[in-house]
């Protein structure tokens, strides 16, 4: 007798099943990364390049000397690079969805969210690489972290959580747009204003008033400030809660939108 006939007929995947299926999809994404390590080039090179460039090009102009610029710019680069790494959740998914194997996933009785959440969870590996390299570069160049190990770990965790939430914006773009290249293009148009029109690289009061207002309200600014405070003193401040709240709102809006768009296409 067939297994299907004995399964209980419920028209959706249960919570436990959904979690399991999500983990399997994440495992699959990790296997793919393992098979094609060349796709990690961006997260391996970018943190090294950005820290060197920003610190030595702008350090003198903004903070008088490169080392005094480090506490400002390392959190900025950290946040920007991790959010950038989250773009590839969308482009990777697009690339993947064009392959025949996604037809099979769509035909299986699995949670519609599993492929999307699985991919975005697996991508945290890329965040990890960026975080480790950025901090390593910072410390090599003379960054001092008075917040200690706790502060640094808390900062890493906060950036990961917030960027994971933001990655749902790019997942939506990935599901809706036709090619992986245009996913990256569109995502960059979202990404650059979001990260540069913030306090990531320069103090907000040096910006023209309109941009300054935007930068003050930008959730990325809260995140950068919160990361700075964690690194420099393991301090939990309002900025931390604001950045988490902002990220949660983004995830709660974009994750359902992305899932719906994905289901629609099915």
């Amino acid at each position: 007798m067939t297994v299907a006939a004995s399964e209980k007929l419920v028209n959706h995947a249960g919570l436990r099943e959904s979690v399991q299926q999500t983990l399997v999809m994440a495992y699959r994404t990790l296997l793919r990364i393992k098979r094609r390590p060349e796709e990690l080039v961006d997260v391996l090179v970018q943190p090294i390049m950005f820290t060197l460039m920003f610190v030595y090009i702008f350090g003198g102009a903004i903070s008088g000397d490169p080392v005094s610029y480090l506490p400002i710019v390392i959190p900025g680069i950290l946040v920007q690079s991790v959010i950038m790494a989250s773009v590839s959740t969308g482009s990777g998914l697009r690339d993947d969805m064009d392959k025949g194997v996604f037809d099979r996933f769509r035909s299986l009785p699995i949670s519609r969210m599993a492929p999307l959440v699985g991919a975005s969870v697996a991508n945290i590996v890329r965040f990890g690489i960026v975080i480790v390299l950025t901090f390593a570069m910072g410390f090599v160049m003379g960054l001092s972290a008075d917040g200690g190990v706790i502060g640094v770990l808390a900062a890493a965790l906060l950036v990961t959580v917030v960027s994971w939430c933001i990655s749902w914006v790019f997942v939506l773009v990935g599901v809706m747009v036709k090619s992986a290249t245009s996913v990256t293009g569109i995502s960059m148009i979202i990404l650059f204003p979001l990260t540069f029109l913030s306090n990531a690289f320069v103090p907000v009061d040096t910006l023209p008033s309109v941009l300054g207002t935007f930068a003050s309200a930008n959730p990325v600014s809260y995140l950068v400030t919160a990361v700075r405070e964690l690194i420099s003193g393991a301090a939990i401040t309002g900025d931390l809660w604001m950045s988490i709240a902002g990220a949660a709102v983004i995830a709660l809006i974009f994750a359902p939108l992305a899932t719906r768009a994905y289901t629609r296409k099915a």
Partner: protein
């Protein structure tokens, strides 16, 4: 519970102005092999995709074991296995990894999934290639892996979209055996094909579709007899006798018969009664019939009669 594995009523799917599926209605009885026969672009894949919950229809309804494919998609997905026209396995992973992942997605524990994967690879003769990269797989191996992937949990209904297109004759014969074995275990099989002999050989019922419409439906025999004329083949022994026989055929049936290279007389025949008249005519003329047979038309002729074109013509235009 319904007696049908698939019930489609007035199904419509449009792509812009193109009515890819244009009011298809059909019934697939449980436990049978059902063939959808049609040239390239007829709407076969689109129909299968709608049934497999991969695509949404624009009109009509489709049910799998009584469950609506739109409203109860998740339930339908539990009952079906799908092997699409194009490979639906992960090229960057090995055959084993693919099957293990599909198995775990179907709720098997890692160990169970690995066991099931090994079992299926063995069954489909892929054990040796289990850990080889997929890009080194031949067309036939890929097809087999694709079918294996749809059988992790033996489905109640299996969709096979052009399972033998592009396969060499030997692999094709193996695939036919695989399909028969699957049906023998109780799985209803719905397959599409462009090959008339394939549908004739495998399916107990066939729907012929063209331009998104069902233009004929029935058992292979029904389809053949719907074409109207069967063919009478006579062996009269010698060419003299054959010449005489041809005259009698013309007198009795009013048709000109042909003589094949092998010396047999071939003549279209509308009504079986006429055969008796012919045999009486032969006896009265003192002719002795060496061998006689009546052949039903091939599905190629069926297609020609219904559409006015051969399957190859159609495929050539659309491809």
């Amino acid at each position: 519970m319904t007696e049908y594995a698939v019930e489609i009523d007035g199904l419509v799917k449009t792509f812009g102005d193109n009515r890819a599926v244009d009011g298809v209605t059909l019934r697939v009885p449980k436990g049978t092999i059902y063939g959808i026969l049609g040239p390239n672009g007829a709407g076969k894949t689109t129909t299968i995709n709608i049934l497999a919950t991969l695509m949404k229809s624009d009109g009509g309804s489709a049910k799998v074991f009584g469950h609506d494919v739109l409203k109860e998609a998740h339930i339908v997905r539990k009952m079906i296995g799908v092997t699409g026209q194009y490979a639906s396995v992960d090229e960057s992973l090995s055959a084993t990894e693919n099957l293990v992942i599909f198995g775990m997605l179907r709720g098997l524990k890692r160990k169970q999934a690995a066991e099931r994967a090994a079992e299926l690879l063995e069954e489909f003769g892929l054990t040796e290639a289990a850990n080889r990269p997929l890009h080194k797989f031949s067309g036939g191996m890929r097809r087999r892996l694709d079918i294996a992937a749809g059988l992790i949990v033996i489905p109640d209904l299996m969709f096979l979209d052009e399972p033998t297109t592009g396969l060499d004759p030997r692999t094709r014969a193996q695939m036919w055996n695989t399909i028969r074995a699957l049906a023998a275990k109780g799985t209803t099989v719905m397959l599409t094909t462009q090959y008339l002999d394939e549908a004739d050989n495998l399916a107990s019922r066939i729907a012929v579709i063209d331009h998104g419409r069902v233009i004929a439906e029935g058992t292979p025999d029904e389809l053949k007899s719907s074409v109207g004329s069967s063919t009478l083949v006579l062996d009269m022994g010698s060419s003299d006798q054959s010449a005489m026989a041809q005259e009698i055929i013309f007198d009795v049936l009013g048709v000109r018969s042909k003589i094949t290279d092998a010396g047999r007389i071939v003549t279209p025949i509308a009504k079986m009664d006429a055969v008796a008249d012919l045999l009486i005519g032969f006896r009265e003329a003192g002719l002795e019939v060496q061998a006689i047979s009546i052949q039903k038309p091939t599905l190629d002729e069926v297609f020609l009669t219904i559409t006015g074109k051969t399957a190859e013509d159609e495929a050539g235009v659309e491809a």
